[in-house]
Symmetry: D2
Subunit: 307 residues, 4 copies
């Protein structure tokens, strides 16, 4: 069992994650984790906060000589803005400044006030903020180093921004490079241009945008997850993790919702047995394994942009 906890407020000293259950003997690469953190910060149209923080991870346990020890691994990401917030967010003593009184829609503000009995909404938004995902990106980047031992790779790219639908063929050999070079993580150059215009127009109008991201997993062996009990299903566990990300409102696998519009013959891929192996001639069902991400416009309300 591999499990992790994350902690940290957006304007507190740092984000921390502890990962317990990582096998020993796995090569770790801090630069590869930082590279994923940089991708998180580099999206076109991100808020100004992204310039403040240049996230870099520090490992403080569970690794020696760049190899995992089998013991819990601590990941820390400093909040570079902490020096400016030390009086406000002080652990022992706070001056109570930069108080937030008005709950924003599409955020945890209102329920957080009610559930945890906070009267300064800052006590909610400091944790509910999307900055928390930096800790999860670091955890995920480390887990990818475990997966790479089994030649499992993950690639994500953007398939929609607002009204712009991107068409992209992830099976083409230069697909991954095109995604990495795109400021939108989108391999469709024409659609990318339209999406940039869409984002710019929204920004000018004081609006925010939504989008859809697709994750392609390669090299996954048959038999991860299981049918024997509902909570062992792989799709259920992935849906859980994806839906736990701030602002995500939907998730689908393979053809996803389009399966509902089609008959069985258009949806399934027959299994054949030949040369001592099972094989399929089509890949309709698993054609697209995509996760959905939508982010509303907090600026439309009276609140600061935190996501």
């Amino acid at each position: 069992m591999l499990r992790y906890l994350t902690a940290g407020e957006t304007h507190g000293p740092r984000l921390t994650a502890i990962i317990e259950g990582m096998p020993s003997g796995i090569k770790t690469d801090i630069n590869a984790i930082n590279s994923e953190l940089a991708k998180r910060q580099s999206g076109y149209g991100r808020g100004g906060r992204m310039q403040i923080e240049k996230d870099a991870v520090q490992i403080t346990s569970g690794v020696r000589n760049s190899v995992t020890l089998g013991s819990p691994i601590t990941l820390e990401i400093q909040n570079k803005d902490w020096a400016n917030w030390e009086q406000i967010m002080g652990i022992e003593k706070s001056n109570g400044e930069r108080r937030v009184n008005c709950p924003r829609p599409g955020h945890a503000d209102l329920t957080g006030m009610l559930k945890y009995d906070h009267d300064d909404i800052r006590n909610v938004l400091e944790r509910a903020s999307a900055r928390e995902t930096a800790a999860r990106v670091a955890v995920g980047a480390l887990c990818k180093q475990l997966l790479s031992q089994f030649n499992i790779t993950l690639l994500n790219h953007v398939v929609r921004i607002g009204s712009v639908d991107m068409s992209s063929d992830y099976t083409s050999p230069d697909f991954a490079d095109a995604v990495e070079q795109s400021p939108l993580r989108c391999a469709d150059k024409q659609a990318e241009q339209k999406a940039i215009e869409y984002i710019d127009a929204a920004k000018a109008a004081g609006e925010s945008c939504g989008g859809v991201v697709e994750v392609v997993a390669r090299g996954v062996p048959a038999g991860l997850g299981s049918y024997v009990h509902y909570d062992r299903k792989l799709d259920a566990n992935i849906a859980f993790s994806v839906m736990s990300i701030q602002a995500i409102k939907g998730v689908e696998f393979g053809m996803g919702f389009d399966v509902a519009k089609n008959r069985g013959s258009a949806v399934h891929d027959e299994i054949y047995y030949a040369n001592n192996a099972y094989t399929r001639k089509t890949n309709k069902h698993e054609q697209r394994r995509r996760h959905y991400s939508a982010c509303g416009n907090e600026a439309y309300s009276n609140a600061v942009y935190t996501a």
Copy 2:
């Protein structure tokens, strides 16, 4: 913490579920559970197996005088077909008949063989079968009796079958009745007729259909779930449960994927404060809380219809 385990093969003696963590003092109604089991069996176009089993739950622990005791509750649903399968599915001795050799697409057959080292695929499909959901319907029906103590109600209805999109207004006062009286759980009479024709045509062609179901939860208090840690999020936990259901390929909340196509002002509902209470004048964001269900055509392949 409320948790449960389910067990049972489709042609074994019975399905069993144990629910641990139910509070004491909750009124239980076996008829209400059976009524939910009947709904599960009554869908238009369901396979012939549905006629064999007339599911009825038996409670064998945790309840006395129709009130929960606080101790674990056992729910049993007999498999009425067991008498015909006792030699084949025998716990101690099996004659090995009705062996299944050919893995069906869209099922756990192939991965199950590989993961659990089965050479008779029956050992997989007996558990991977959608019959397992009967146990979960019973568990859910009991949990609804707990939720009703807090005036939380759940209503599900069908919003798509294949190419037929149903329009339905769940806020209308006679909506629930219309759903309960429909053989498709669909309040849109015109669309229902088209969907029935769609199903009949698919059946005639040896195909199966997909669809989308929407669940409307009412009376949910603010503050279930939490933003403080990723695995406490309510949406994540619901997505987990929904996606663990056989054949489900997508799940969305509120506007869901449509959020990605819109700007923030069209997606979020401003929060107002008046008369000592927070309120919203719109309900865009939570307009539709729907869960997606898609079921491919197993009959298109060589297998029996199990879902």
Copy 3:
């Protein structure tokens, strides 16, 4: 991960356990489970209830042709007395007879009333009763069939009854046989006689007795459990399970509390390296792996004997 839930009241229809996570392909032997259940019932001086129930397990899922399928396994043990209690313990309707008003010491009666808001203590004692351990004996007996695949064996025997201390050498070749033939599961014949007299005298005086049982595990490979996180420690997990048994008040490993009375050189076993293997010449530390069991005299109070 292997997990299980148990359910069932002492005078309800049956006890049920679901075990989830058992590997597939394990040979199961129902007679071996029943033999463990019989041992549970056969102790010298047990109460009259033991004669009523001749426990036998029924498996209703997860096993076919005496081999595990990898799916959850359901174990049922009928309560033979149910016919006499159906009106009293009725799931849907109870006549409320055989009400218990007076909480017994050394039981869950008082806290159960307060925590679960029961005014009939029967609602507590039906579940708090030691009869629940029958379900756990069945679960454990099945797990021993898994362990036997790895040549791990478990043997328990009694090392104290009241003031009678048994001396016994579990390394002697005929030790296990002597234990199995003893009505007290005690290989020391002289002490056994004294213990029987001790029990008879206590019984005549309306008292109950306590005792200590030792469990000897053989064939356990190095590396079960782990030091990397506190909740992975094997001793902690065993202590948890042992202490969860009704009436148990202490548990110790190896020399246990005697370690506190000795210096390090008397407690530890040096590790040597010879012939390409690590070895120890002594076994002080692991000399005795014992679990402690103490059962107070409920008859001393006004309650029926349930343990």
Copy 4:
């Protein structure tokens, strides 16, 4: 649910713990945590390492203005010796010095090498070390601040060192003060002197000592834990936590093993009902709630003293 993870090697940069599930609105006192950390370091006869580290906790999340926020709380304890070990225990690059080749008895060395495939035993002992308990002391000290909201208090004191048995009456009014002032946390002045001599003699002989510690919990309300399922029992959960501490070999509750030597009437405390309340006139059963701690002499072997 309150849960926590700990991380950190003995000679790594720091120990870290994340506590998830702490309610919001709890007053926190860092000095009180540091005071518990100091007690951990102050035991008579502790090894030289204790002088190096003057442990102080730093909170980096989940608390603002000395009040918990409801979000995960991060506790950090710097390893002051890290500057001397940075080359040896380097996260990215290690010079491999201070290698440990010989596994010590009574430690995780041997099983750790085998389980995690380490050839430098340092990779085991850095985590298996008792220094890890500093993180747990900090977690526990914080949890005591939660418990104090309910007027639950915990007091521990030493009841045995080697052959010296301490008699002490924790019900006397000046008991707690006597314990806090004693270098051995022992209120029995005569026995304390004998214990000091016992420790000095053992030290001179190159031996280590064992001992027994008793924990007295006051103000615990009836109904923590539960009889309804084995893994909800309070004693089981406490035994789990206690036995997970390095070097602990036994745990008992109340009279503990002595229960086995007595008849029921000497063990149980009758419950009476008077003045609308349940009461007991005796406290035999819960007379002593003690946890056992034994620490073998690592110095007897070839290893450094780490516990």
